[in-house]
Subunit: 450 residues, 4 copies
C-alpha cells in the first residue's frame, strides 16, 4: 500500500458531496498520499458524475498533488486492488427520497430519509446493493476497508457484517460531530478539552461529557439545551430546543438530534406536514439545492469546494470519512464515533449487531470504548429499534414481506395496523424499480392479493 | 396450616368478582378446606362489601361447608396469620378506570384499563397500595402467599418482587386461559391433549402449541385465527379476526388478544373512539353491568353465582386464583401461566423482572418452564414494554415525574411529545386523590410550572 | 408410528446391559407397543451380540409379546425407518476403559471412565462414531429420536447438538435416579413426596429438595449425608460420606457422587491407586463381572434379567431410557433429569451447550425447568468443566491436538504441564486404533516430533 | 486540587518500593506538582518507615522540588483532604509471605504470594484492612482516587468496588508493562509502534498485538517465546520458555508470566520445592534483599533510587502508579492495563467484578477498551478463577469458613479434599494475628472441632 500510494474508490462518486471528500483528501495529502481516486457511478448518474468528476479533477490539479481522478461506470474495474472503498450512493436518487418522505406523510405519518417508513425503505433498497459491492470486494480487493456513509448507515454497516460477512467495515455519520461542536459551544470551552462518550445506534445515540478535571458536564449542557427562556443560550439550533426538559434531565444523557422523532413525535410530524403542504419536504428542498450546486460545479473555473455546499446538510460527513481513512492508514488511534460490531460494548444489545459508539480508530480498525448497560429510559427504545433494524436488514436481503411488515409494526414512527400495511404496500409498489427482491410480493399487491 | 384449616384474605373483597372466587373455593373445598375467608375493603367500598359479602355468606351456607366469611374494613386484623392473601382491589373504583379510558381518548390516543396511558396510571395508583399491603404482610403473616390479580398484574407482581422484596407472590391473568380454550376449539381437540408454552409479559405474551404426537400445531391455529373468509372457522371472538395474517404467520407464535393494541393500533383506536362517542367506554359499560350485578346480589335468596357475571369480563380470573392456591396447598404441580420472577426464563429480559410464563405450581411456588430467546419480531416489543414497565413501577413507588414522562414517551400507545406531556399532566391532576406520591408535581402542574 | 408399532434400534446391542433394556420394554409393553427391536453391534462385538441377543429373544418370547428382536452388524439396515435409536456402545470395549484408567494412574493422576484423562479419551473416541450415526439417521430415519446413554453422556449429547446439528436427542444418566432414591431414604419419605430440581452437567450436577409443604429439605439431607458419626444414618453409600461437611453445607445444594473427584481429589486418587495396585481398577473388576454375566447369559434356560446384573453398575440406566421413550411416545410429561440443550436454563453457561437438568419429557421432547444462576461456589467449577468439554468435543470432531492439550491443561483432574502432555501423548498412542482423526499427531508423537 | 497542589498519601509507606515511587513523582513534577507526600505505616513498620522516609526526604530535597514528605503512623491524619491514596502495604510483612509460601509447599502444593493458597491468604488478610481504609476515605477524603498496588491487586480492587462500594479505584500491576517490553524486543520494534490489547484478571491475563499496519503480530511473538532451539531468540526470561508451544499457539493469545502456574503446574511446583529445600522460597530471598536494601537506605548520603532495588521484583510498579496519577491529574488519556470494573468489557465474567484490561486513563478514571468473549481455552480458566476470587473476597470480608473452603476446593493450584482442608486450617492458625474475622473458626480448629 505504502509504495504504490493509496487507491481509493468512491461508489456514488457523482454525489454533490464529492467536492467535500476531495477537499478532505487534498487537505490530508501529506499524511495520506492518495495516488488514485476512482469515482464510480451508474448509468443514471452519468451526467452528475461527469460534472462533479471534472470539478474533482480541477480541484486536484489546483492543489498540485500527484493524484489521478478516474471517472467510471465500471465498478469492478475500479475496485481492483483498492485500499479503501467509500460508499455514498443513493439507490433511486433524490426521487426515491422524495417518495420516502411524501408517501408516509400522505398517510399522516413521519416521512423522513433515515427514520420511520422512509428510513426503512431506504434500507430495503440499499441492502442488496451493498451486499453485491461486498461480493465484488471479496474477489477484487479482499484486503480493502469499506467506509460506509450511505444511509441508514447503521443498518447498512450491520448488513455488511452479518449478511455480507465482511468485517473490515466502518460506518460513519456526521451527527456526533455536530453534537460535540454544539456542546463545546454551550459550555464555552474547546472541544478538545471535553471527553465525550457516545453509545447507541446510528441516528439514535446518547452521550455523556466529562471535562479536563473529570467532572461530569452532561447536565450543564442539558440545562443549556433545554433552556428556552432566552436567546443568549448560545445554541442556535432551534430544533434542539424542542425537547421536553424534564425528560432529558431525567435521562442524564444527551440524546442526538434525531431523537426528536421518538421523543417529540407530534411536534415533528406537525412540522413535516407543514412543509409537505407548503415549501415541500426536505428532499424536495435538497433537490433544488442540488440542482443549483451542479450548476455551480459546471463552472470550468471552479476548482474548490463552494460555500453553498454547506447548506446541503450532511456537512462533516465526507471530512469524517477522510479522517477515518487517515486514522487507519497512519495508525493514529483517533477517537471517533462510528458504526461497528457490538461484541458486548453495549450490554443491552445483541452481541453481533452494529452499534454506533465512541471508538479509537487505528490500523487494525475500530476499537470501541466499553459502555455497559443503559438505564431503562434509553434501553427500551434502543432495543426496539435494533429489533426493527434486524427485521429490515433481513427483509432487504431476502425480500421477505412478513419481516418488512413486522418492522413496520414495531417501528414507533409508524402507527401499526391496517394503515401500516397499506403504507408498506404503497411504498413497495412506488419503489418497485429498486426492489427486485420483492418482485413476487409487489405482483401480489398489484393483484390485490396481499 | 393443615390443622387449623386455611385462612384466606381477599383484599378488594367488595368486588363484583367475589362470587366467582367464593364459588371456586366451594367447588374445591374437599381438597382445599378453607376455614376462614376474610373479605377486606375500604370505607368507600363498604356498601359493595356488605352486599357481596352477605351473598358470599349465603353461598357458603348453601354449600354446607364449615367456613366462616368475615367482612371487614380493618386490613391488619384480617391479615393476621393469613395463609393466602388475594388482591383484587381497584384503587379509585370504576370512576378511576373511566378516567383512564376517557382522558387519553379525548387526546386521540388509546384509552384502556391495562394498556397505554390508562394502564400506566392504574399502575401508578396501585403500586403504593400493594407495597403497603406487603409491609403489613411482613409483620402479620410473613409465611403467607400473595396471589395478585389486581391489574396491571405483571407490573404489580414486579413491584412486589423488586420494591417490596417479597418473593412469595404469584400474579394471575385470565387471558391465557381463554386463549387455550379458543385454540383447542379451533383445532377441534380437547385442551388437555395440547401442550401450550406461553412466554412474555402480562397482556403481552405469545404461545406455541404441540399435540400429543409432539407435532407443532401453532401454524394451524394461526391459520384459523386469521382466516376471515368464513363464519364457520369456529372462532367466535371477532376481535381476534382483525390481526394481519401475514404478520402473525411470520411470527410463528400466537399473540394474546391484547397484542391488537400494538399490532392493530389504528383499528383499535377507531373502535374505542366510536364507543367513546356513542355507547361509552368499556369502563362505563362495565359500570352499568356492575350496578345491575349488585342489584342482583342484593337478592337475599340468591346464594349462587349468577349467570350475568360472565358478561362482566375477567371470567376465569377468580377460578384461576383458586386453582393456584389449590396447587400450592396440595403441592399439585399444575401447569399454569403466571407472572413470576424471570431468573433467565426469558433470555431477552432482565434477570430480576416479572414475566408471564408457563410454570408448574406446587407447594414451593411457581417453577417456570425455560423459554430462551424470542425472534426479533417479538423481542423488540417485549423489551420496550418491559423498560416502560420498570419506569412506571419506579415512578409509582417514588412519585418521580421524570420517570413517568419517560414511560409515556416510550409506550408505543402514546404519541410522544408535547401531547404526551399534556396528557400525563391532565391525568395526574384528575387522579390526584389517589396519587399522594405525586403531590409536589401535581401542585406544580396546577401552578403551570410543569 | 402408531399403526405399524414402534421400531427401536439399540446401537451397542451386545452390551451386558441389554437385558435390563429388554426387561424395561417388556414391562412397559402395554403402553409402548414395540414391534421391532434391532440390536446392532460391530464385528468385534459379534460374539457378545449373539449371546445377549439370543437371551433377549428368549426374554421376549417368555413375555409373550408381539415383538421381534433382530440381531445385526449392519447399522444402516437397522436404522431404516427407526422411531427411536438408543446408543449404549463403548468404542474399544472394556479394554479401552482399562487403558483410560490405568494410564493416568500410572502418572499419578485420577484414572476414571468419565472424568479426568480417561473421560476425555472416552469422548475423543466416541464423538466421531456418534456423528457418523447421526449422519446415517439424517438419511435413514430423519424423524427418529436419539436416546443416548453412551458416556460421557453430556459431551456426546452436545456433540450431537452442535457438531451433528441434530436436535431430537436426549442424553441420559442413572446418577440422578440413584440420588433421589437415596435422598428419600435419608428423609424417610417416599420419593414421589419430594420435589427435586437438578442442574449442572452430566456427572457434575447439584440438586435441591422440597417437600409437599414446599419446605426446603436440602440441608436436612446434607446433614444426613455428611454425618459420619453413626451407622444408623440410613445411607449405605460409603463414598457419599467422604465429602467435607463444611463445604457441602456452604453449598446449600447436594452434589452428585462424581463431585467427589473434584471436591475430594486426594482421597479419590488414593483409593484408585490402592485398587490399581491390588485388585485392579474398576474397569478390570467390571471385566470379570461381565465375563461371568455372559457365562450366565449363555444359559439357554435363562429368559429373565439375572440378579447379578445389578452389581455391574449403571443400574437404572436402561430403565431410564425406556421411560424417556415411553414419555415421548405417550406424551406423558414425566419429570426426569436429562442432558439437553441449555437455551438459557442455566444462565452461567453458553446458550447452545448441553446441560443436565430437570425437565418434563413429552412428545415434543425435553422441556427444562428454568434454573437461573449458580452461586460462585458452583459456578466456577461448572464453567471450567463446560469449557473443557467444548475443547474435547472440538478435538474429537476434528483431531485438533492443540484443543486436546488445552482440555488436558484445563481439566482439574489433570496436573497441567509437561506431565499432562506426556500423558496425552501416551494415551493417544495407546488408543491409536480408535482415534483415526488423530493419525497425524500420533505419527508425530511416535517420531518424537510432538 | 490545582491551587493548593496535590496531596498524595501512600499507605505502606515504609515499603522498600517507596524510593521508586518518589523517583516517579520527582520525574513527573513539572506535570504533577505534588506539594505533600504522606508516607503512612503501622507501629510494626515504624523502623522501616523512618529509614525509607528519611531517604525519601533526601531524594525530594536533592531534586529541589517544593514538596514536603510527611512520615506518620496516624492514617486518619494523613488521609484528610488527600487527592490520591496509594496502597502498597503488606499485612503481616514478609514473615506472612514466607508462611504463604512455605506452608503450602510443605503440603506438596504451590506456595506463592499471589497464586494458590498463599495468594488466597494474602487476600484474606488484606481485604479487611483495605475496607477499613475505604471507610476512612469516605469520611476524610471523599473525592480522592485510590490507586491500589497491594497484591493480589485484582481481588483487592474488587473488594473495594463491591464490598467497599467505592468506585474511584484503580488497581495496578507491573506484569503487563514487562510483557510489552519483552514483546517489542522479540519483534525488534519500538513498543510505541505496537498496539497491545490485554484482558483477563490480575496475574491471569492474555493479550494480542497489532503493528502500525494493523497486522496481527501475536503469533510471531508466540513463536519467539516458545522457540527453545536457540539462545538468539532475544528473550532473556527463561521461565517464559517453559510454556508448551502447542498450547500457546492454539490459544492465539499471549498468556502472562503467571499463567505458568496454571499451564505448567508440575514444572513450577518442582522449581518451588527445589528452592524451598535449598536456597529458600522467593519470600525468604526477598527478605534478604530487603534487609540489604534498608542497609543501603540508611546511608545519609544516598538521595536517589539505588540500582539494587530493581532486583527486588515488582519493578515498574511504582512508576506505573505515578503514571496513573499523572494521567488522571492531567487528563492525559494514556492507555494502560489496569484492574477496574468489568461492566461488560469481558462478556464471560460477571458484570460488576474487577477485571484487568487495557483502558484509557483520564480525569474521569479508567475507560476500558471493549474485549468481548474469550475462546473456550481461556474462558474456562478465567471463569473458575473469578469465582474463586469472589469466594475469597467474601470470606475475607466476613470470616466465612465455608466460603474459604470452597475457594480452596476450586483453586486449580490446591489439590482438593482432606489435604486442602488441613492446609486451610494450618494457614488460618499460622496467620491468626492478622485474621481477626476468623477468630471463631480458628478457635474451633485449635479445639479440633473443625
Amino acid at each position: 500500500m505504502a509504495n504504490k500510494g493509496v487507491k481509493i474508490v468512491t461508489i456514488g462518486g457523482g454525489s454533490s458531496y464529492t467536492p467535500e471528500l476531495v477537499e478532505g483528501f487534498i487537505k490530508r495529502y501529506d499524511e495520506l498520499p492518495i495516488r488514485e481516486l476512482w469515482l464510480v457511478d451508474i448509468e443514471e448518474g452519468r451526467e452528475k458524475l461527469e460534472i462533479v468528476g471534472a470539478m474533482a479533477q480541477r480541484m486536484v490539479k489546483a492543489a498540485g498533488i500527484d493524484c489521478t481522478v478516474h471517472l467510471t461506470l465500471d465498478r469492478r474495474e475500479a475496485l481492483k486492488d483498492a485500499d479503501f472503498v467509500t460508499t455514498q450512493f443513493r439507490v433511486g436518487l433524490l426521487q426515491a427520497r422524495i417518495k420516502d418522505e411524501r408517501i408516509p406523510l400522505s398517510h399522516g405519518m413521519i416521512g423522513q430519509e433515515t427514520n420511520g417508513a422512509g428510513g426503512m425503505f431506504k434500507a430495503l433498497r440499499t441492502v442488496p446493493v451493498i451486499l453485491s459491492i461486498v461480493e465484488d470486494m471479496k474477489e477484487l480487493c479482499p484486503n480493502a476497508w469499506l467506509i460506509n456513509f450511505t444511509n441508514p448507515a447503521g443498518m447498512i454497516t450491520q448488513a455488511v457484517l452479518t449478511h455480507g460477512n465482511w468485517k473490515k467495515v466502518i460506518g460513519l455519520c456526521n451527527v456526533p460531530i455536530g453534537a460535540t461542536k454544539m456542546d463545546a459551544a454551550a459550555l464555552g470551552v474547546e472541544e478538545e478539552d471535553l471527553r465525550f462518550q457516545f453509545a447507541g445506534l446510528n441516528h439514535l445515540h446518547w452521550h455523556k461529557i466529562k471535562d479536563t478535571k473529570g467532572n461530569d458536564r452532561t447536565m450543564e449542557v442539558i440545562d443549556k439545551l433545554t433552556d428556552v427562556s432566552g436567546v443568549d443560550s448560545g445554541i442556535a439550533n432551534l430544533k434542539m430546543l424542542r425537547f421536553l426538559p424534564e425528560q432529558i434531565k431525567d435521562l442524564g444523557m444527551i440524546p442526538c438530534g434525531y431523537h426528536r422523532y421518538y421523543y417529540m413525535t407530534d411536534v415533528m410530524l406537525a412540522d413535516e406536514l407543514e412543509e409537505y403542504n407548503t415549501i415541500g419536504t426536505r428532499g424536495e428542498q435538497v433537490k433544488k439545492l442540488e440542482d443549483s450546486l451542479f450548476e455551480l460545479y459546471k463552472d470550468p473555473n471552479l476548482d474548490y469546494k463552494p460555500e453553498e455546499l454547506s447548506k446541503r446538510g450532511g456537512t462533516h460527513y465526507s471530512d469524517a470519512a477522510c479522517e477515518v481513512i487517515n486514522s487507519i492508514y497512519n495508525n493514529k488511534g483517533t477517537t471517533m464515533v462510528v458504526s461497528t460490531e457490538n461484541n458486548g460494548t453495549i450490554d443491552d444489545l445483541p452481541y453481533d449487531c452494529a452499534v454506533e459508539v465512541s471508538a479509537t480508530i487505528d490500523a487494525s480498525g475500530a476499537h470501541p470504548v466499553n459502555w455497559g448497560k443503559f438505564p431503562a429510559s434509553a434501553r427500551g427504545l434502543v432495543q426496539v429499534m435494533k429489533a426493527m433494524e434486524e427485521l429490515i436488514i433481513e427483509a432487504g436481503a431476502t425480500g421477505d414481506y412478513g419481516k418488512a411488515l413486522q418492522a413496520f409494526t414495531m417501528n414507533p414512527l409508524v402507527v401499526s395496523g391496517d394503515g401500516a400495511k397499506a403504507l408498506l404496500n404503497e411504498m413497495l409498489v412506488a419503489h418497485e424499480a429498486h426492489l427486485p427482491q420483492f418482485a413476487d410480493s409487489i405482483a401480489k399487491i398489484k393483484a390485490n392479493q396481499l
